[in-house]
Symmetry: C2
Subunit: 478 residues, 2 copies
């Protein structure tokens, strides 16, 4: 495996394949989510469904094929998505009258349905979520982070007024941040996207941005306030209390299987995957060591422990293959099992097992009596530790005192020479697209977001020294 610090991308590509999270498919930029990869997504789904249920937002399912005419109704929307849309033009050997796009997102399809379903203020807010496959034919692809077909949830809501719609936009953004930080142990930066990075057709787009181990950014989730733009294009109107037909205010928001890429790039190490137990496909892996085949009592003990852990709901595996212990250690570290339990003849004699926590060096002997409590405690502690470690690393890679484009270039050069991440850079921005474009052109950095929580207020635009309107995080991004 490539060393993580030398070639992060190679490390990533090798790890996700060797650990059997994904395989390439014969269709350009599409991947196969193998069981361990898909299971990560299933746990994220369960967790987010709990939020939806608590909020009274119900799941539905809408057709994947969207008529071309639907896309034409909202001008910004079609302009943003047109180059990436796959089109169904034929069925069997007959040409369709109207081409159908594979959905890149469902504002148009769901907007059209909302228009039928919403009549009066009594129907509002109207809030729906969909788990679905979506398609965006990107030029450059990377497993999980940028694929032609990906999986996501997309929430769509309609509200009586701006205030209620904005409340929903923010409430979901907060939940995305909680999902990343508490559930996935990925620290995020919450803020507002600049106009050039807005969702096609949105009034305001908010995002959570995560910093990968190599200092690059991943936009991990977005929440959009659409104003009445989609409502006007799709006639999502309602009869208000004054008996007038007025447009609703709509929102949409989504997280996708990009989160899997973020998980891997946030926690993975030289030995492979590291997952918090909240999502790890294998929380506990057990294996016999030493001359265990001559000692049937060892497997009896491990079988009993396996049944015991399974009954408690742990995701546990017992590796009783003929592979060597070294091979097994390697394999289960690669796959990101949270705790390894070894048991050999001497361990059995001493009434204990040897344990190894994936992200902590060294083994610890734990007596059979104390094993339950030990495992519960360690699995409990792991997400917080992973989050804190990632947060600490992020802080080391945040640069808040770069004032000019030359200083940014110098920073990039230094990082290159010292082989360390360029990280997130906080800059002053005059609010113009020109300066954003210049930064991108000359450094490859893009604006991530205007943080809600500004570490240092920047007063001068990075490019032209004029007065800054906003303080913005910029970074290279996946």
């Amino acid at each position: 495996m490539s060393e993580q610090t030398n070639d992060f991308t190679q490390w990533y590509l090798q790890t996700v394949q060797q650990a059997e999270l994904m395989s390439y498919s014969p269709v350009r930029g599409s991947i196969i989510f193998r069981p361990d990869g898909f299971e990560l997504w299933e746990h994220i789904q369960e967790e987010f469904n709990r939020f939806l249920k608590a909020e009274g937002i119900r799941n539905a399912y809408f057709p994947m094929l969207i008529p071309k005419s639907f896309f034409m109704k909202e001008a910004d929307h079609i302009e943003g998505f047109a180059p990436e849309l796959p089109w169904v033009t034929e069925v069997g050997d007959e040409k369709l009258e109207e081409p159908l796009a594979l959905r890149p997102t469902s504002e148009t399809m769901i907007g059209s349905a909302f228009s039928d379903w919403i009549n009066s203020y009594r129907d509002l807010p109207y809030e729906i979520n969909q788990w679905a496959n979506v398609f965006r034919w990107e030029k450059k692809t990377l497993p999980f982070l940028r694929t032609s077909e990906f999986l996501w949830q997309e929430g769509h809501t309609a509200h009586a007024d701006e205030e209620d719609a904005r409340r929903r936009t923010m409430r979901v953004l907060d939940e995305y941040a909680r999902l990343c930080e508490e559930f996935l142990a990925i620290p995020v930066y919450k803020g507002q996207k600049t106009p050039s990075e807005r969702f096609a057709g949105a009034v305001d787009t908010y995002s959570i941005e995560a910093m990968m181990k190599d200092g690059k950014a991943v936009q991990a989730g977005t929440s959009h306030y659409m104003g009445t733009k989609f409502a006007e294009a799709f006639e999502i109107n309602y009869l208000n209390k004054e008996n007038k037909h007025v447009p609703t205010h709509t929102t949409s928001w989504g997280v996708s299987t990009r989160l899997l890429g973020s998980l891997i790039m946030t926690h993975g190490d030289e030995n492979g995957l590291v997952f918090p137990p909240t999502v790890a496909p294998t929380q506990i892996v057990m294996m016999p060591v030493g001359p265990w085949k001559k000692n049937p009592a060892i497997m009896e003990k491990l079988d009993a422990l396996y049944a015991h852990f399974k009954a408690q709901g742990y995701r546990v595996r017992l590796d009783d293959t003929d592979n060597s212990p070294g091979y097994k250690f390697h394999e289960w570290e690669l796959k990101g099992a949270c705790i390894r339990i070894e048991c050999g003849p001497r361990d059995l004699e001493n009434g204990h097992v040897m344990t190894k926590i994936r992200d902590i060096d060294g083994k610890v002997a734990v007596s059979f009596d104390e094993l339950d409590a030990y495992i519960a405690t360690e699995l409990e502690k792991m997400p917080t530790r992973l989050l804190e470690n990632a947060r600490k690393r992020n802080q080391e890679n945040e640069y808040t005192s770069i004032e000019t484009l030359d200083e940014l270039k110098a920073h990039i050069e230094t990082c290159k020479q010292e082989n360390r991440p360029t990280g997130f850079v906080l800059i002053g921005w005059d609010g113009s697209e020109e300066t954003e474009a210049k930064i991108k052109e000359e450094t490859g950095f893009t604006t991530r977001n205007i943080p809600f929580d500004v570490p240092v207020e920047k007063t001068v635009d990075l490019v032209n020294g004029s007065s800054a309107k906003h303080t913005v995080w910029i970074a290279r991004a996946y």
Copy 2:
């Protein structure tokens, strides 16, 4: 609403829309699964996932777009599916070099992956399931039962030998039958499909068939033994214990959102939907009656009960709208709520509520003290009662003594005159495609399956009086 017995199809179409299970979409033959409709599917998913987990079969996700060349590898397969395949031919405004089909099923894509993943007998059996959207552009469509896009699970497994593959094929068929009967209260007929009704490319196809209230059949689930046909087309080989490369034996099996149509057509009545509580989106609906607005104690009591039921995990709703009790009764019967609880001033005084079980006539007063036990018992009893009622109705609509095509035609004529279902007819069959075709042409009846459990052994072919090879259920089908 149309009367069920007069025009069953109209009753069905009106009910699924008025009860808000689905809406039509702008794409031909595609429907929108509204929240109550989608929730039925979610409960089926949860239940079948429990089976998969217990069997050690893991979920994965494969690309939806399948290159044309993949389809060409198995001749029967492409011949069977070609006319119904939607093709992506363009992305943005560029033409693709090779057209990509929207998957109608994933044998080819998964076969190709299995070929990479499976090496030795140690890897077998290799068993995967996928929950996905699939596409078959059918000429005639009907919500849930036949739609251009539908949702399903498709299991795909590879085995070392025929015996193991056939064991898997049958094990899943048994689980499908259990899922239908115990979970959905839909009685089914298990058996083998005739060669003309086999899955395109299968060696043997087995099905469960369900009889709807109007006597027509729904093929509710299928399980296929593929022999080595797909393994040979996609090189799904393995190194056996004798160190030889040999093809695996594969299976596939699926149930789809057709099950939702079967549920509705099995249990629904003149007043609308009837669901067993296992899948019902609303298990308990509560409503205040009488002059409840003047009696705040009524809503206090109902709010407390609501919280109480919710905490116990029931799917409960409290209808405190201004609609009249009559309107509410109608609406919640239409939507298939299992138990209705009414509480008015006099009920409160008497320390009870009035309850109504969806599929039983008349109301029952239940004291607050006994309500918990009453609800638990009634919800427990409901699936068995629904299953028994459906089974009884099926038995009334089974015809096992029709010996000739003329007798079948006479039966159809009588049923028409008496406005009753033509049902399932058990016939003798000589095993030829010609007789199957003739029956279909002259009566619209198709062979459903050769039942495992033959009620009466038939000795003479229905059409030509020659010696029968098989005893077969035939029926009109959705």
